[in-house]
Amino acid sequence: MTLGGAFSDSDLEAIWLTVELAALVTALLLIIGSPIAWWLARTPSRWKRPLAAIVALPLVLPPTVLGFYLLVAMGPHGPIGELTQSIGLGLLPFTFAGLVVASVVYSLPFMIQPLQNAFEAIGERPLEVASTLRAGPLDRFFSIAVPLARRGFIAGAILTFAHTVGEFGVVLMIGGNIPGETRVASVLIYDHVEAFQYAQAHWLSGLLVVFAFAVLVSVGTLTAAGNTARR
């Protein structure tokens, strides 16, 4: 049995959709997460702790709770739904776009926490030095903070990608199970099991186990390398 033969067309479609979703969410979170992590790492504001807690909520909330609120918010009478309807995008639930929005919210802490730690580890000094060398705030962020926090960026990206691949509950609540649109690998495994297609379920599950293992090894190596470098 070849590897190609192990996966049916609908399996391959689901795998591709999963990769697409995870890549898009990672890219969006790099853009959205960096300023939030930067602010959290440096602000003396008393709003820091409450905001950090909100960012971390997806870590502890059941995905169904998060999915439920997002479904309501994106629905025809929710604030996001009214916005998307008014600008002509229609409604997001049960679309790929809706899945992207939900995944961005759900994976937020996996991007922000490694980034925030990396930004905090830089300390004040390199940025002060840069400002005495005529670098303005935005310049300092891109020329000093980003390169010095690159391990945080890589770790955040890997964790976000992996976490989005492994998402199930929120997907089911928001996206349902539409082939080629919202049916990602984790949902398809559920379908296979429901239909007693254990062989199919084995292949897909095995793939995800190998993927998750590779992710954890690479993040671990990265962290260890960072510690050695610091020493």
């Binding site: 390199p126 002060e128 030095v129 400002s131 005495t132 060398l133 670098a135 020329s143």
Partner: protein, 362 residues
Amino acid sequence: MSDGIVARFSIDYPGFSLGVDLRLPGSGVTALFGPSGSGKTTCLRAIAGLERPRGGGYLSVNSEVWQDDAKRLFVPTHRRPLGYVFQEPSLFPHLSVRGNLEYGLKRAAGAGEGDGLERTAEILGIAALLDRGPEKLSGGERQRVAIARALLTRPRLLLLDEPLASLDLRRRHEILPYLERLHDELEIPSIYVSHMPDEVARLADHLVLLDKGSVIASGPLQETLARLDLPAAFTDDAGVFIEARIAGHDQADELTRLDFAGGTIYVPRRRPPTSAGRVRCRIEARDVSLTLQKQAGTSILNLIPAVVVDMAPTEHAAQVLVRLDAGGTPLLARITQRSWKTLGLEPGSRVWAQVKTVVLIG
């Protein structure tokens, strides 16, 4: 023409407050000197705009205003044409030595092009290191790169925060000559924070003494050091610096003769012999004793005629600090109160200062 540096501000922290009102010369080196915790670094950071003083602050450097709270003006650090050398070299680890030097060079308006970098690297003895990473440099080399990096932005004010403090004695001696050379070549004013009297003596023209967050004294180096009204932290190792000229060497006795405004002194000859014309020497108050007549039959070589200017008690009840004038050069002597009375000294008395030790500094 410049009108110097005017700095007036106060900063409050829990348990510490700093208040200064300074007028500093617009050229040469000003040393901010004081014990640790006296507010030297905070003062420097406020001048750089890294600390935001509370209202009422004013700062101008050679008629360029950097802060005027009355007009709600606060120029952020990156718009102030200054160079800052931190206590630790603080090179950017992700850039090579050249990358570090170019960082400020590229961003500073009106900074020189490529040859400026090569020349500055040459002066600071780092030309061979340009392509290395900062982690491959010694502490002394790193600090020289940090100094070059600051200079390449063509600052109009150079701020140095104990640039030698993180280095051991040998590295310190490796950098001091470069700093002295900068002192001679730079036309811009610099402010140098230090708690090392020797560094101050070698580099400074103007001295500001800070203690517990306030300015105790500010003035030309020699005058300020010879003041008697300073707190114990400064008088404990009170001493003066004299500017002298090398007048000759005595081969047979291995001595060097120095002439200064108040007379002649001898110091042990240096190997290799110091050839430069002008030198600075430090004479500590505890190494100076007084006699009414010139002593014959004494082992002490350096006998300097002087006039008593005034006297102040010290933190030790038995001792007093006497300020002398030797042909225009101030000297300090630490003697006992009993000797002061026995010799019948008073302002205007003519005495001979016997100097046991003279330290040739640079």
